[in-house]
Subunit: 329 residues, 2 copies
């Protein structure tokens, strides 16, 4: 580094000022803070308010097959290009609490209390960060679920296995609910992961919620200003949303992409968790073409917190530009 | 938007599930949250901990001469390219509290209590956000000042005009201190802005701190692991820093650039607040060449919170890539 050359005036000034030094009292070293800031963030969409409430981060070693159709070396190269450590993966989770002006609407619920305990607070932070943001689960009017993976549905239940949002209507994509509750589909599930997902969804929706859910259709407003948009492939009923108020809007993508550094940059890459990778890619390209063309703000469940930005074309893929944080609402 | 076609299964599933709808209790609409999350963020540099503590944001109409050597239309084009509104400017402020393991070191102090009051809390948030982050001003060991503009020094004083950090040694760049305390330089100052800066610095360092400051030299560690680096041009004694711990480090640039969307993207643009624009540009190009070549993490006082990222070459300029937020330390 060649930045250390000395300014000619500095020496003389230091000599002149030296007598101003004063004795410092001895004091014990300050302990390191051991908790991150509570990770929540608010922004307006017209008259509505979006509260991004982090559910934390899952740090793990990069699996060999994290991207199904690309060698691990290429994944590592993309991580390094994005200034991220290679052979590691950090997936974040960003549930929302939207105040529509009339209703408090949660979208997706994070990994839930059991994961919070087993991860020592790394994931499952939705409940604590929601409390820090000033929201009482009993005040939530509606919980909207985008799809039935554990990081989206497990927070529907509290530590005792009952409803975490006792006064909320739970809205689920009709196609998603039909798929996971279908005994034939469950009997045909192959592999531990898919079998586990079916079992988990029976636990959440049958044992936990006693099937008290409201299936919703695509192409309609399911809460004030919140339109459900079909974006299948990641799961059979995977859903995105457009939140609109006046002329302002945001596209809430759910899991159209996972980590932007990998899957926004490379929309042709197939995430190991995409149930129908070809259909997921088709949806991803359609959504990202639209986001780039319309310069539309986008909120991504697995984007790094606060998980809101804009999309631009970049080579054969896209780039997600985080929206600047505002220290005031 | 062509994303609303209906999945074939959805209709049937909705019919089957319709009886599960339940009546919702009537409830008053939830009030909108009126305060942003306290904007602080912690990250590690080796064994040290950096706490980024936002001082808020100054929103104002874009002056015609905000960039001295470029027409306003070009500035607006750069804002629109960065998905920011044209004819507006939002400048953020990111003072730091660094825990070196032995010392609590503040770098720059924000706009101070008078600005907090007059802006209704938009700027001057350092004191409140520092409290939210768990830091007592009385526990601060050292305050390091990068240069003598009001958004960096005014927080040195409390609302009563006394030292805001009563137990801290205040370290100032020797060249900067000599310049602003020099009566000859003050007598030669031209224009309201420069005259006002001289007066403000006499208020802060003479009336407020009674000249109890320690001037420091470039090229040396001025606190554990914190090396002062000459980066003049913005002011005659403008200083950046390298914080190192073990093999880890971060470049703390201070005001080598203002808003990245304008001045990282266009290093040849001259900010109206750069006292020696040509020298500021030379410093900027030297620093950004180094940051890009070394892939070095950089913390910027006027970057959007949390104001830490990496620099890449982009066309004739550079691009600042925000480091992903981590919801855990």
């Amino acid at each position: 580094m060649e930045l250390t050359r000395r300014h000619a005036l500095a020496g003389a000034a230091a000599l002149a000022a030296a007598p101003m030094l004063r004795a410092m009292p001895a004091r014990a070293a300050a302990p390191m803070a051991d908790k991150q800031a509570p990770s929540f963030y608010r922004y307006k969409v017209g008259d509505a308010q979006v509260n991004v409430i982090s559910d934390g981060v899952n740090n793990f070693n990069l699996p060999d097959t994290f991207v199904l159709n690309v060698k691990k070396d290429e994944v590592n190269a993309a991580l390094e290009k994005a200034h991220m450590p290679k052979d590691k993966m950090s997936i974040q989770f960003a549930p929302l609490v939207i105040n529509t002006g009339g209703k408090l609407v949660v979208i997706d619920t994070g990994n839930g209390p059991a994961a919070y305990a087993s991860s020592k607070g790394n994931v499952g932070q939705f409940a604590t960060n929601m409390a820090a943001a000033g929201f009482d689960p009993k005040a939530i009017d509606m919980v909207v679920i985008s799809h039935f993976h554990g990081d989206h549905v497990n927070g529907l239940l509290n530590a005792e296995g009952g409803p975490a949002f006792p006064n909320a209507e739970v809205l689920v994509p009709a196609a998603e609910y039909k798929y996971w509750m279908d005994d034939g589909e469950m009997s045909r599930a192959s592999g531990d992961r898919m079998t586990g997902l079916f079992k988990n969804n029976r636990r959440v929706f049958e044992a936990g919620l006693k099937k008290k859910v409201t299936p919703y259709e695509w192409g309609k407003d399911i809460a004030p200003g919140l339109m459900a948009v079909e974006s299948i492939g990641h799961t059979p009923g995977h859903t995105s949303y457009v939140l609109s108020s006046g002329s302002d809007k945001v596209f809430i993508q759910s899991d159209v992409t996972n980590l932007p550094a990998l899957f926004v940059a490379n929309p042709g890459w197939h995430l190991m968790f995409d149930q129908d990778p070809q259909l997921a890619e088709k949806t991803r390209r359609k959504v990202y073409d639209m986001l780039a063309a319309d310069k539309m703000r986008v909120q991504g469940f697995h984007y790094p917190f606060p998980a809101v930005g804009y999309v631009e074309k970049d080579g054969n893929g896209y780039r997600m530009i985080p929206a600047p944080w505002s220290p005031v609402i």
